[in-house]
Amino acid sequence: MKLKYRHIRLIELFLVLLMFGLALYSFSKNRVYDSMILLLQQLSALLKVDVDQPIYLIIFIIIPFLYFYAMGREEHMDGVYMMSWLMHLPSVLWYSGLDWLKVVGSPLNFQVLETRLSFEEVLLISAILVGGRILLFFTCQIRETLIGLRKRGADESDLEAVIPGMTGFALTLVTLSTALALAVSYLIAVTKELFNPVVALAPYPYVTFGVACLVAIPALVIIYFHSKAKD
C-alpha cells in the first residue's frame, strides 16, 4: 500500500483524538473535574439555563484540539500536547511523593487532585501522551520535508515510495521507546524490594541517590550526544 500525504494527516488526526480522549478520560476521573461540573451546575442554576454540562465541556475542550490539528504546523502540535497535559496533570500530581504546597503550609495541596485512576493507568496515559507528541513531531517533520521535496520538483511516485519508510520507521521507534520506558518502570517496581535494603544503608538515601542520579543521568546523556555528534 502506498501512503500519501493525506494518510499522514489521518495518522495525525488519530493521534490528536487519542491524546484528547485519554486526557479527557484522565481529567474526568479527577476530583477537579467533579468540582468543575458542580460549579457549572450551580452557575447554570443561577442563570436558569438547563444545559448538559459534560457535553459542553467536551465541545469546549475539543475545539482548540481541532484548531491546532487544522493549523497543522509543528508549533501547533505543542498546543495539543500542552492542553492534554493540562487535563492530565492533576492525576499525575496526585502520585507525587513531595507535596510542596503542604510543605509550605498552604491550605490547598495535592490532596484536592485526587484521582480514581490507578498508578499504572496514569503512567500509561502519560507515556502515550509523551509518545504521541514525539510521533506528531516526526509526522510534521516528514510532511514539511515532503512539501520541500515536492517544491524542488520530486516525482509524486518517489515521494509515495518514501512516505511508508519514514512513517514506519518513526512509528516503530516511538512505540519501541514507549514500550521500553514502560518496561523499565515495571522492572523497577519488581526489583524495588531487592534494592531497598541497600538504599537504606546510605545516610539520607533519597538525597544521596536522588542527587547522584540527577547528576549522572544528564551527564551520561550529554556524553552520549557528544559521541554521536562526532560521527
Binding site: V92, L93, Y95, S96, G97, L98, W100, F119, V122, L123, S126, A127, L129, V130, G131, I134, F137, F138, Q141, T145, L149, R152, G153, A154, D155, D158, L159, A161, V162, G165, M166, F169, A170, L173, V174, L176, S177, T178, L180, A181, L182, V184, S185, Y206, G210, C213, L214, I217, P218, V221, I222, Y224, F225, K228, A229, D231
Partner: protein, 444 residues
C-alpha cells in the same frame, strides 16, 4: 553533527526528569525516558554516508532538438534514510521525460542499487559537460544534520546542427546553379595518378612530365617542335572558403535561435555539400576580438569533422556591436591571403548584412576579388549569405512585419555589397530552408 531536533528531545527529557525529581513523581521520571530512548535508538542508525553514482555513457553525439536519454546507476551501500539526487543539465537543455531530481528511500536492506534515467532535449549547438551529481542524505528522523555530497562522473554531450540534405538537381528546368559545377578542376594541388590528357608544354611544367614518345610521334607527323606533357588529375577539384561572421551583431534573437545559430547551420550544410563533391573546403571565423579561427582547406571526412568541431564550439561574441578594424572581414581575408591566392577559390561569406557592417563587408569582398583569377567573368566567385536576423528575432506577426520593413530598408546596403562584386543571397530561416534557398535563389 546532531540537528536541532536532538537538542529538543534532550530538553524534553531533562524537563520531565527535573520536574519528576522536584515533585518526587516517578510517573514523570518514567515518562522522561521516552524522549531519551527515542533519541538513543534513533542515533544508533546513521543516514547513508556514501552514495556512488555512475553514468551509463561517457560521451554522446546529438543533433540540435534531439532527445538525449541520460542514465545513472545509483548505489547506496550503507545507512538508513532519505537520499536525494540531482543531476543538473547545462542551460539550453530542456527536460522532456523522467526527472533529474530523484528521491530514494534506503531502508534496512544491506544495499540498494537503482537505475535512474531521464530525457533532455538539446536546444542549442555546443559541447556540454555533465559532471557533478549532487546528493544529500537525510536522517530518517531528522536527528542528524543532512549530509551533502557530490559524485563526479563526466558525460560529454556534443550537440551539432542536423546536416541539411542539399542535393544538386540535374533536371533541365530545375538545374541549380549552386556554384561549382562538377566539371571544374583545381589548378593547384597534388597531382594524382589518374591520367587526364596529353597537352602542349607550358613554361613551368616539370621536365619529367614530358611525354617523349608522344612528342617524337607528333614532331614526326605534324612537324611541330613543342614537346607534349602528361597531365594528371589534381587532388581536389576546387577550393571553397567559408567566412563565418561571429560578431556581436550575429546574436540577434534568443540564445537558442539567433543569427549565429542559423549561420552555423548554413556553414555546416555547405561544408558537407562541397566536401561530398571532392572540393577542398576551408573555414575562417571572423568577428571576434581574439584572433580569427582558420581551418585550412582540405578534403574528406576528416576535414568535415574538423570544421564541425570548430563550429560546434562557437559562441557569439559579447559586447558592443561596434566594428573594430582588427575583427573585420578584410583583416580575415588578409590573413588567409596566402591560401587564397592562386587557388581561385569560391568564397562564401555568411553574415547578417546591415548598415553597421556594410563598410567592412565591402572592403572584405574587394580584397577577396583580388584573389580571384576570373575577375573578368560575369559569374562572381564571392557569395554573401545574408541571414535575416530581424526575422529571427521577431516574436509575433507584427514584429514579423516590422522585420520585413527593416529588410526593405536594408536593400540599399545589400545593393552596395552587390556593387562591390559579390552575389548576395538573403536567407530568412523562418520562411525558407537552406536547401530550398540554395536550389532556387542561387540561380538568379
Amino acid at each position: 553533527m546532531l540537528s536541532k531536533a536532538s537538542s529538543k528531545f534532550f530538553s524534553a527529557f531533562l524537563t520531565l526528569l527535573l520536574a519528576g525529581a522536584f515533585l518526587g513523581n516517578t510517573i514523570l521520571i518514567y515518562a522522561s525516558l521516552i524522549p531519551l530512548f527515542t533519541v538513543a535508538l534513533a542515533l544508533t542508525f546513521s543516514q547513508p554516508s556514501r552514495v556512488i553514482v555512475s553514468r551509463a555513457e561517457k560521451e554522446m553525439a546529438l543533433y540540435v532538438d534531439d532527445d538525449a536519454a541520460i542514465s545513472l546507476r545509483v548505489e547506496i551501500p550503507d545507512g538508513v534514510g532519505l537520499v536525494t539526487l540531482a543531476d543538473t543539465p547545462p542551460k539550453h537543455f530542456k527536460l522532456v521525460g523522467g526527472n533529474n531530481f530523484r528521491v530514494l528511500w534506503k531502508g534496512f536492506r544491506k544495499e540498494i542499487v537503482a537505475e535512474i534515467s531521464y530525457k533532455v532535449r538539446c536546444t542549442r549547438r555546443g559541447v556540454y559537460q555533465l559532471s557533478t551529481i549532487n546528493w544529500e542524505s537525510i536522517h530518517p528522523l531528522f536527528l542528524k544534520q543532512t549530509k551533502i555530497g557530490s559524485s563526479k562522473d563526466a558525460l560529454r554531450l556534443i550537440v551539432r546542427h542536423r546536416p541539411l540534405a542539399v542535393r544538386k538537381i540535374r533536371g533541365i528546368r530545375t538545374f541549380s546553379k549552386i556554384p561549382l559545377p562538377s566539371e571544374s578542376s583545381a589548378k593547384m594541388g597534388v597531382a594524382t595518378t589518374d591520367f587526364r590528357e596529353i597537352r602542349d608544354y607550358l613554361p613551368g611544367d616539370p621536365y619529367r612530365s614530358i611525354n617523349w614518345k608522344a612528342t617524337a610521334k607528333l614532331v614526326h607527323s605534324h612537324k611541330k617542335w613543342l614537346p607534349k606533357v602528361n597531365e594528371f588529375e589534381r587532388e581536389g577539384k576546387r577550393v571553397v572558403w567559408i567566412f563565418l561572421d561571429k560578431s556581436a551583431g550575429m546574436s540577434l534573437g534568443s540564445t537558442t535561435k539567433n543569427s549565429l545559430e542559423y549561420a552555423v547551420q548554413a556553414a555546416t550544410a555547405l561544408t558537407r555539400f562541397y566536401l561530398e563533391r571532392d572540393c577542398r573546403v576551408g573555414l575562417c571565423v571572423y568577428g571576434s576580438k581574439s584572433a580569427e579561427r582558420i581551418v585550412l582547406p582540405d578534403v574528406g571526412n576528416r576535414q568535415y569533422y574538423r570544421i564541425l568541431k570548430e563550429l560546434t564550439a562557437l559562441e557569439p561574441e559579447d559586447g558592443q556591436k561596434s566594428t573594430d578594424s582588427s575583427t573585420s572581414l578584410r583583416n580575415a581575408v588578409k590573413k588567409c591571403r596566402g591560401h587564397l591566392m592562386g587557388s581561385n577559390p569560391l568564397s562564401i561569406i555568411i553574415t547578417s548584412v546591415s548598415a553597421r557592417n556594410v563598410g567592412s563587408l565591402v572592403e572584405g569582398v574587394k580584397e577577396m576579388r583580388k584573389c580571384t583569377l576570373r575577375r573578368s567573368t560575369r559569374e562572381s566567385q564571392v557569395i554573401v549569405i545574408h541571414v535575416a536576423g530581424n526575422h529571427i528575432a521577431a516574436r509575433d506577426d507584427y514584429e514579423g512585419i516590422a522585420a520585413d520593413l527593416m529588410e526593405l530598408e536594408n536593400r540599399y546596403v545589400i545593393w552596395k555589397v552587390r556593387r562591390a562584386g559579390a552575389r548576395v543571397v538573403s536567407w530568412n530561416p523562418m520562411r525558407h530552408s537552406l536547401a530550398k534557398l540554395l536550389l532556387t535563389r542561387l540561380r538568379s
